[in-house]
Symmetry: C2
Subunit: 337 residues, 2 copies
């Protein structure tokens, strides 16, 4: 018996590795000391930090993968994953250094893997992040034919005295919102159930209210807020940042509120993309649940002292900046009004 | 419709998070600046490094997961994953700093997740590594009931001028082996096919030649070589380290050989655990294939200059150290004799 007969094809895995190497090399800066094929990725911490703190996050893209699979479009989920992770460390003030990915599938399809990695590499380049390592695992028996999973880890750095942790947030501070472009990477189990099971739409169906096909709408790339937040930081003091992911505003904003603070968020302050209206209406989902599952159009919330609010730009790196609410005395609650 | 009806249970996920928090907290040193629930994990680089280089690796445990699932034993795969990653950065001279994990399942079973994380936390403590972050993803529709996947990322550090990369390996150097305790984390697709499909053994069957049940043999925890290699490093110059994983000695040792070098490895130099004899015999797997898929009893190879070979201890942190072969002139080949 040879290994290939048990369902694992090492040669095919090596073929995928070569295609990946070209894409990955483009993301590398001089900080990267390793080469593809080394056991571990080597990254030299950039000079100039007095007291560097590493900020890291690991994540997946959830069942957005099943949409990608149905659409046979594999690059955008790679971008989603990187941008999601970039935002998760950005909220603590960190800039990305490097990224590692994990792709697992029942059978390795080199073209599919290369497409996933091309998306990872594109987003890494856009965010100034080196794609330094990864694992492609072939697991017959765990994943069904055509199924795959994708996870990634980002590591970034922030000067210790520049960590953003929400501790300086105080009553009177103002909350701004940066717009999402749709679902981003959260709530796909519910979205899929409504669109595919309740509405019985096909992946390529065009939906007039969305002015898009189901595939295009559901695979819109999760926005990175690195550029916008960096540019805003030069103009105002940012006391807190909340990346609005699973759990929505209601669960993510409280994560950065210090004791004695609550938040009041005005629902009409930013535009809600049409996909959310569609899901609420067709799925008969009540508003409170919508705000607990989805970002509802606000991908990133930014807390700024009242004194700086007037100086907040109305645009940042091509995104509108919306005044979305304020911080009040309270015990961690977020009230939607 | 509520989110729970679509198969995702946020409350259950939160329950799992609480159980995990207790286990994880035990792995934290004062370098960890973040708390559970933060968006990213914060880790301050330990003082005392002149030119710190981060070494990172991401991996999974492959289809060893399917054995864990059949045995309903979920902690050992967590230990496997950490130890595997520790070894992957150890070979470049790095000591672990922190670890992040990704657990994905069709439905979150808090007890199962807590068991996986207890294994991760145990191994992190043993290796002086902080379990700093993780993602538990519930993905109905992608994973079948009871199925799950597990991946992890380790980040370690090494002083730039102490990186081990094999570049100083030269003809005449001596290769030593540290023993594995069985399959470790590689070759499970083939092993499972032979044991479950060809031999038709049950997970709890006792195999006399192994003096163990199938579950106990196949779930032996992947050894960490951190302690042994650290103690050997104090006594001899280590020019190269190869963690013997998928691809075996034949594919992993060449990864560290510089131009002009080849290796000659003596097969009888270390004991081969009985599980490998069983797989070869019952699966009718030829020897060359066995050495290309499995570690065959050698979990870590260590290359030492000839002048230091006589000073190599015969034991290190409870493990026997075997003289396994030598480096010759050549073009990257590994010859088994």
């Amino acid at each position: 018996m040879r290994y290939r007969e048990s369902g694992v094809d090492i040669d095919k895995a090596n073929e995928a590795t070569k295609a990946i190497a070209r894409l990955v090399g483009k993301t590398w800066s001089k900080s990267v000391l390793s080469q593809i094929g080394h056991f571990g990725g080597l990254f030299e911490i950039p000079a100039g930090y007095k007291s560097p703190v590493l900020v890291s996050s690991m994540d997946g893209v959830g069942t957005k993968l099943l949409v990608a699979r149905a659409a046979r479009r594999y690059d955008t989920v790679g971008q989603d994953l990187v941008n999601h992770c970039v935002n998760d460390i950005l909220v603590q003030g960190a800039r990305p250094l490097f990224f590692l990915d994990y792709v697992a599938a029942g059978a390795i399809d080199p073209a599919m893997i290369a497409s996933v990695v091309s998306g990872l590499a594109t987003a890494c380049q856009e965010n100034g992040c080196a794609l330094i390592g990864g694992e492609t695992a072939e697991m017959p028996g765990l994943y069904q034919e055509g199924d795959f999973d994708l996870a990634g880890t980002i590591v970034g750095v922030v000067e210790r005295d520049r960590i953003i942790d929400g501790s300086r947030i105080a009553p009177g501070d103002v909350v701004f919102a940066l717009p999402s472009n749709g679902l981003h990477t959260n709530g796909y189990s519910l979205a899929r159930r409504v669109i595919f099971d309740v509405m019985k739409l096909g992946i390529d169906a065009r939906v007039e209210s969305l002015r898009a096909t189901v595939a295009d709408e559901l695979l819109r790339v999760h926005r990175s807020y690195l550029g916008a937040v960096t540019s805003l930081q030069e103009k105002v003091e940012i006391r807190g940042l909340a990346h609005i992911t699973g759990g929505g505003i209601l669960e993510n904003l409280p994560r950065i509120l210090p004791a004695g603070c609550a938040a009041r968020i005005e629902k009409g302050a930013w535009p809600v993309p049409a996909i959310f209206d569609l899901i609420a209406r067709e799925g008969d989902v009540v508003e409170g649940e919508m705000y607990r599952v989805f970002n509802m159009g606000a991908g990133m919330l930014i807390v700024v002292p009242a004194a700086d609010a007037a100086r907040m730009p109305s645009r940042a790196e091509g995104l509108d900046v919306y005044r979305a609410g304020s911080i009040m005395k309270g015990s961690g609650d977020v009230t939607l009004v």
